[in-house]
């Protein structure tokens, strides 16, 4: 019964995340989905991955997304365009696939008590090496994310330097704080700005 409630809640939270018109709300619904998936995994007996999902999915990813939205500036809500036919088609397709595959699940086996660390390092050692490369790529991504703020400050400073009559020039070296006004207007490319 509890599993059914959690599953229904998860699907509804995911649906709200998808149809939400504001990015911040969608991010919070996504965090709820992560937390609920963590609970489902815990119920299944997969405690280790439940903790990882809760900390990474509901924690790290949410913080990163909120950070990115803060940098971008939460754009105005975009109206949700209902695609009823598409929604019905997806629901029917998933019902069909779930109905066809659920009966082909093997009979439940007794879970072999095997430590996760042994499987991770002995059986899937190559994957662990690939994951280290992935984490390195992720760190590069975060560095790229953070360096954008420096670019914005630099472009702002160069703009002020080219219009000294309209703005106080002391602000050029003062590295002004970032706010939404520093983000260029649509179609105003950074490449065209003299840096």
């Amino acid at each position: 019964m509890l599993t059914a409630i959690l599953v229904i809640l998860t699907v509804f939270c995911a649906l709200f995340a998808v149809v939400s018109t504001r990015l911040l709300h969608a991010t919070l619904w996504l965090a709820a989905v992560s937390a609920l998936v963590g609970l489902l995994l815990y119920q299944l007996g997969a405690w280790e991955i439940a903790v990882i999902e809760l900390s990474v999915g509901a924690g790290l990813v949410t913080v990163l997304m909120v950070f990115a939205i803060t940098m971008i500036g939460d754009p105005p809500a975009t109206p949700y365009v209902s695609r009823r036919t598409l929604f019905i088609f997806v629901v029917l397709a998933m019902t069909m696939i779930a109905g066809m595959t659920v009966n082909s699940l093997p009979a439940p086996h007794d879970v072999v008590a095997e430590p996760l660390a042994a499987v991770l390092w002995n059986v899937r050692g190559l994957d662990m090496a690939a994951q280290i490369v992935l984490i390195f790529a992720g760190v590069m991504g975060v560095l790229g994310l953070l360096s954008v703020s420096d670019d914005i400050v630099r472009v702002r400073a160069s703009r002020v330097a080219h219009h000294p009559t309209t703005t106080d020039t002391t602000h050029v070296t003062a590295a002004p704080e970032i706010d939404n006004s520093m983000i260029p207007a649509p179609l105003d490319r950074l490449e065209k700005e003299p840096v």
Binding site: T3, V7, I8, T10, V11, A14, A17, V18, A26, L30, L40, L41, L44, G45, A46, I49, I52, E53, V56, L60, V61, L64, M65, A68, M71, I72, P75, T78, R83, L86, F87, V90, V91, M94, I97, A98, V102, L105, P106, P108, H109, V112, E114, P115, L116, V119, V123, R124, D127, A130, L134, I135, A137, G141, V142, G144, V148, D151, P186, R189
Partner: protein, 101 residues
């Protein structure tokens, strides 16, 4: 219906929700969110399959790989979105396509 079967069916519907979100997404960040939902569903199916076949540790190790890959995809996607916003000034896919010609 046994709880494992419920989880299995729920994971398929979660995958469908993510797919629907990806198809109607008109914002880059909304597409990233929809992709996240799909990946969570895939991870849930992997762990359920592991539990059902008695190889829960193997299912969990696959799930960890999926979580790491997914998180890195999100980080790189967010970095690209912020860069895109700085250069084009919008995250709306239609506007980006129009601006890029």
């Amino acid at each position: 219906m046994p709880p494992v079967h419920m989880l299995f069916v729920g994971a398929w519907f979660l995958l469908g929700t993510g797919l629907y979100g990806l198809m109607i997404a008109r914002n880059v960040l909304k597409a990233v969110i929809a992709l996240q939902i799909m990946v969570k569903a895939a991870m849930l199916i992997l762990v359920v399959a592991g539990a059902q076949t008695g190889q829960l540790a193997l299912g969990q190790s696959l799930g960890i790989t999926v979580i790491v890959a997914d998180t890195m995809a999100v980080v790189i996607g967010l970095a690209m979105a912020v860069r895109l916003n700085a250069s084009v000034g919008t995250l709306e896919l239609d506007d980006i396509i129009e601006a890029e010609g």
